[in-house]
Every structure is written in structure tokens, then in C-alpha cells.
Symmetry: none
Subunit: 214 residues, 4 copies
Amino acid sequence: MGAQGKRVPRAVREQQMLDAAVATFARRGYRAASMDEIAEAAGVSKPLVYLYLHSKDDLFTACIRREAAALKAAVRAAVELDGPADRQLWSGLLGFFEHTAAHPDGWTVLYSQARTVGEPFADEVAAMRAEIVEFVRGLIAAAARDADCDDGDLAEREVAALAHALVGAAESLAGRALGGTAASSGRENAATLMNFAWSGLANLMDGRPWTPSR
Amino acid sequence: MGAQGKRVPRAVREQQMLDAAVATFARRGYRAASMDEIAEAAGVSKPLVYLYLHSKDDLFTACIRREAAALKAAVRAAVELDGPADRQLWSGLLGFFEHTAAHPDGWTVLYSQARTVGEPFADEVAAMRAEIVEFVRGLIAAAARDADCDDGDLAEREVAALAHALVGAAESLAGRALGGTAASSGRENAATLMNFAWSGLANLMDGRPWTPSR
Amino acid sequence: MGAQGKRVPRAVREQQMLDAAVATFARRGYRAASMDEIAEAAGVSKPLVYLYLHSKDDLFTACIRREAAALKAAVRAAVELDGPADRQLWSGLLGFFEHTAAHPDGWTVLYSQARTVGEPFADEVAAMRAEIVEFVRGLIAAAARDADCDDGDLAEREVAALAHALVGAAESLAGRALGGTAASSGRENAATLMNFAWSGLANLMDGRPWTPSR
Amino acid sequence: MGAQGKRVPRAVREQQMLDAAVATFARRGYRAASMDEIAEAAGVSKPLVYLYLHSKDDLFTACIRREAAALKAAVRAAVELDGPADRQLWSGLLGFFEHTAAHPDGWTVLYSQARTVGEPFADEVAAMRAEIVEFVRGLIAAAARDADCDDGDLAEREVAALAHALVGAAESLAGRALGGTAASSGRENAATLMNFAWSGLANLMDGRPWTPSR
DNA sequence: CATGAATGAGAATTCATTCAT
DNA sequence: TATGAATGAATTCTCATTCAT
């Protein structure tokens, strides 16, 4: 039924299947997406999907792994390693927003679907997220060192919180961007976050955080 | 089999059912939760659930509406309307974090489940979210006016972005708090965000945002 | 589709389902029998079968248990407990052959199907068989004591072998009777076996077994 | 993946396939055994199995025929044709028990699986069985003639029954031997049956069978 | 107010079998 | 001689939903 010719080598077919699966999972969610639907979208029969990907769970896991790897690769590739720390963070954020904008289905699967389905999948995504948070934390810490040599370890805990909040905010903005509502560009989103992060960082380093004390 | 006595008035039964449904939807997700499971958790027979709540969709909608209303009410009740703007924002955030921590299932249903199931439900949640974003935006704008009379409308667009990012970050932190990983208290989370918001706001008002230009 | 009226109480429906299942398993074998087929034969829809009997495995187990219980009950009821040992054995064999002839499907399920499907089911049948063998062994031993007081324990091992062979031969004859080939009556079969058993027993007691020594 | 080299002559490959099929059918049953499993066990690809053996049914039939032929050959070869009738029967039984013990999978396929799958296969086995029964009947009749010239045809019917019971008991004992429970040797089993058969025969010839008349 | 009995529709998964090379 | 690629047709099992009482 698909337009593809027959007799395609396995590696190629597998990618076609993963493409179809990512699109379908993104649109319908893990549970609502049926293997029939995915097979049809891939232009193959259901048994072939099972022959190559073994089960719905395995298929979903393969999707998550592929998309997570692609996202991580995109971010790493985007970072300008030889610039100053703020420049590195900026380029990483830009890479993140551009990749998620270019692969909305992948992002949806990772962020919206995989996290809500439960144990085995959520863990996979949590691991990827932890990697990214750590990466960002390193950049922020480096930036702090660049700007202010002494007092670096004082902010240890705050730097971690900042990294977490930054990643959370980035995810949130990426989600908004896909929502179609506000077609905010990747540059805009990245700039917003830099403002966030950099000023928060400055306050922290200056030792004058906002407090509820009044 | 239910432990409840028979002949319970309708209003009470409905709340029991909604309680059971929220807990079940939170634990298993919309699709994976079965009406059997929910009826059993509520201690009633399935036909009674249908008699009162009509269908799975309607039941889920009722859950979303109830939890959204409760969250909005909690936030509004927490805001100290007569204080300065930063104090208002602080108290609202605190209310938000305390309510979501006290009602993790409700938060999960709203944030994780309802958004991923698709059209009719996601819209409902989006509307609630929009209300909250608007509320926050108002507070930030007021704070800006408090601090700096002129030049207010210049930042119009940035203020909206800031509100969005703030809400996104709050959601992200609330999600983390439920994850059990970092048992960050509501106070901590609220403080982190105030730092974020206030310093970002200060930069914006001072007209010196971070830019990638270097 | 079945001719039965609707709204039948659960206990009754369950028996109807077991009847249909026994007949179907007997005719087609465990694997080849489909739940669709069984449901149709029972005059109900498939989901009802699952609601009451939970799974194909459980259904088969229920069949085995019911038929095994019925067979054991029939044999025990047939034995004339107050007669001499040979009379008891005779009446038990007669009961066995009459029950298996009257319930050919049950016998087929127990004997042909359950034993070939593997672990969980075969064990169930093996247990029933062991009970019957032990029962027969007791009768033979009693008969030996009746006839000849001394030397009883010498034959211990041979008596067990005899009991086993007798049950095996009985099963074999019961199988033949169902095959439709030789419509041998229960009386004939029982008599054949009594001849077997009694003369073998006599030889054993006389201490002159056949030996290959020449 | 198979360890065999390529380009094996057809006759050899066929035997490899039949070996694998017999083992697989014995372990899993006809329905539960899959062609994939068999092909893998044989170390060849599935299309090759189809090329040589045409279909699952044909493959099973080929298994039955091969194993039946082997069993019959083993029994015939074991019989000492020039001895007295009881010696012939003894040696035949010994051959039977030794062959089935040496080829448990073949015996399982013939006895447990083929008989329960239904029509086309059961007939094949029934035919083999009939041959063996007839062979045994001949031996018993000859033995009767040896011992007692007159009155031979009186027992005609009983001799047939005796042959049937003997074969049935032999099958039962062979089955037990595979069960692993009682590691009864072939000699023991053969001796048990000779005792059975010979004494039953003696009683019949003496015209004093056991009767329920008392 | 409340439920035991029942089902149509669809889900994941497996299997025997074939083609093109 | 031998196989990687591919599928139509079941099969087991679940679920939202309704009726008669």
C-alpha cells in the first residue's frame, strides 16, 4: 500500500518504521497509537514491524533512543567549544531550539509521551535529561569561574538549581513553540533564557538573591 | 465489595468517584486506566459510574475541571492582594507549590496526562494555563510599574515572555518535586523562581538584556 | 446466537461454558481449539467467557479439574465397599468404563489432551492418575491378603507394578472404546482386565512368575 | 547462523530437518511448534524447509512415517524368529522398550502427539499400531497352539483382546519410562508384561477365566 | 439508589507460507 | 542449493458501554 518499492534492505526499512512510529506516537500518544496505524504509516505490513522491532514496547524504546541520541548530538554539535562560557551556553540553547523545532515529533515523543507512560520509558528520558542538565551545569559553573574567581564553591547548590530551572524553562518554551500558538523563533527563546540565566547567575554571584523576607 | 454503606447521596458518590478517577488516571494514564479499575477503586459498580458521569471522556473532563478549579482557587486564595507586587507573586508561587505538593494526583492529571491525550482535554488545560499566565503577567507588569514609572510599555512583549517562562519553570519544578528525586520544599522552589523572575525583570527594566552580539 | 435465553445466573453459565469447552477441546485439542469456537459453542460472547474463566489456560484447567473430579467420584461411587476385594476391583473397573463411555469428551480431555500439552496441565492429570493407581494398589494388596496370609510383603514391588500396568491397560481399553472401532462394552473390558489382573496376581502369589531365562 | 557448511546434499539436509522437527514436535506439540523454531533447530532457513518438505502437515507426516518405520524395524529385528513363541514375544517386547527408550522423541511424537492432533495423522499411527497388534496376536496364537492343540479357535476373540491389552499396557509402560519417574529398565517392563500375558493366556486356555458371577 | 449479566469492536501478537534473488 | 524480505489470516485478550432487574 505504501509508495515505497518492495524488497528494501532491513536497515532502511527500520528507519522508515521508526519515522512512522515517531510521527504516530507524537500525534496519538503511546497507548492510543495502534500497531496497525504505524505499519500503515510506514507502508509495510504489521508482521514486518514485529519481525524487526519485536513489540510495541521495544518499538517505543527504539524511538526514544533514536530521538534522544539525535537531540543530544544536535546540542553537542551546536556548542561552540572554543568560545567563552556564555557564548557556549547560547549556542547550545540555539541548537536545542532549532533541533526541537525541526523535529517536533521527536520532541513530543521524548517530552510529552515518554514521560507519562511510566517506568521503563520515563527512565530512559530521565537519563537523557540528566545528561543535559549536567552539561548545562558545567557551562554555568565555568561562566561563574570566568567572571569571578573567588567564592566559586559557595554557589554550588544554587548553580545546580539554576541549571535545572533553565532546562525546565527551555523545555517549556520548546513545548510552546510546537503548540503553534506563538511562533517564537529559536533565537528569541534562546535570548529569553540567556537573560534569565545570566541575570540570575549575576545575582547569585553578587550574593544578593531575592528573599521573601520582605 | 466496597466498604461504603449503600444509599449514599449522589453528590457524595460523585466526589468518591472523582477521587478514585483522579488517583487512577494519575497512576495509569488516561488510556491505560480502565473503567473497571476506577469503579472498583470508588467502591461502586460500573453502571453507577456511567449513570453519574456518562462516559470515560466525561469523567476525565470532570476530573480536569475539578482539579483545575481547585488549583486556581488555591493560588488565588494564597495571593496576598494588599502587599507589593513582588510579595503577591511570591505568595502566589508558594500557594501553587503547596497545592501541587498536597495534591500530586491532581497535578499529574492536569499536567502530565491531560496535555498528552489530545484535543478536547488539552484545550481545557490550556485555558486554565492561560488564565494563570495572564494572572502572573499582570503581577509582573504591576511590579514593573511600581519600580519604574516610565518606559513601561516598551517591555510589553518581554514581560509576556517572562510570564510564560516563569510559569513553565514553575511547572517544571513542580514536576520535579513530585518525582521524589529532589524533595525541594515549596519555599525553596518559590525562592528560586523569584530570583529568576526578579533579576530577569530588573535587567529588562534597566534596558540591558543579554544579547548574543558578543 | 445460542438458543439459551439471556440473563442466566453465573453458576449455570459457567457450567455451560465448561461443557462447551470440554467438547471443543476434545474434538480439536488444546491449541487448535479457539476461544471463539468455544464461546460460540457455549452460546455466549467471548468476553463473557473471559469474564468468568479468565484465560484459555484457566479454562482448560477448570475443565481438567471438573472432569477429574467427576471421574474419581464415579469410580468411588461404583465400588462395592462391603464385598470381597476382587468384587471391589471389578465394580470399580466397571464404574470406570461406564463413566468414560458416558463422558467420552471428558475422558479425551483428561487422557489425550491434557497429558500432551505440558507442564501445568499434565501435572494435574498425573496427580489424579496417581490417586487412582494407589486406590487400585490397595485393592490388589487386600485381595492378596484375603487369599494368602503369609508372604504378603514379598510381593510389595510386584503389586505396585501390577497396579500400574492395570491402570495403563484400562486407559488403553477406554481409549479403544472411544475410537469407535470395537464397541466393546464396559463389562467386556472389565472382565478382560480382571482376567489379566487376577491371573497375574495368582502367579505372583504362587511365586512362579514367567522369566526370560528360557 | 547454522553451524553446518553450505551446499549439503538434499538427502542429508532432509534428515537434519526431520531430526530437528521430531525433537521440536516432541517438546512442544504439533501446534505449538513453529516452522521458525524447526528451521532454526535444523540450522537452515525456512524456505528450504518448505522447498524440501512442502508444508507443516507434510513435515509432520514425514516425521511420523520415519519414526513408525524405525520402530517397526527395531521390533522386527529384535524378534528371535527361530525360538519358541514365548521367546519371540519376549524378544519383541524387549526390542520395543529398548527402541522407545533410545528414541524418546520419536516415541513421543508417535504416541502422544500424533494421536491427539486428529484425522490425517492419527490414522497413520493407528495403521502402524494395527500392524503391531496383529503381529503380537499372531505370536500369542502360535503360543497357544504350541501349548494346546485342540480348542484353539474357541479363544479366538479372547486372544485378540489379550493382544490389544498387551500392546496398550506396553505403550503405557513405555510412556511411564519416558516420564523419568520410574526409571524402569526395558527388561523389567518386558518381564512384567510377559507375566501378564502368559498367565492371562494360561487361564484362557484352561477355560477358567475370572467372572463376576461371584 | 444500585447492580449482575452481557457484548461489539478493536487491541497486540504469532504463524504458515511465498517471492525475488 | 539457499535465503532475506514480506504478508494474509488468525488468535488471545481487553475495554467502553448497555440492559433488565
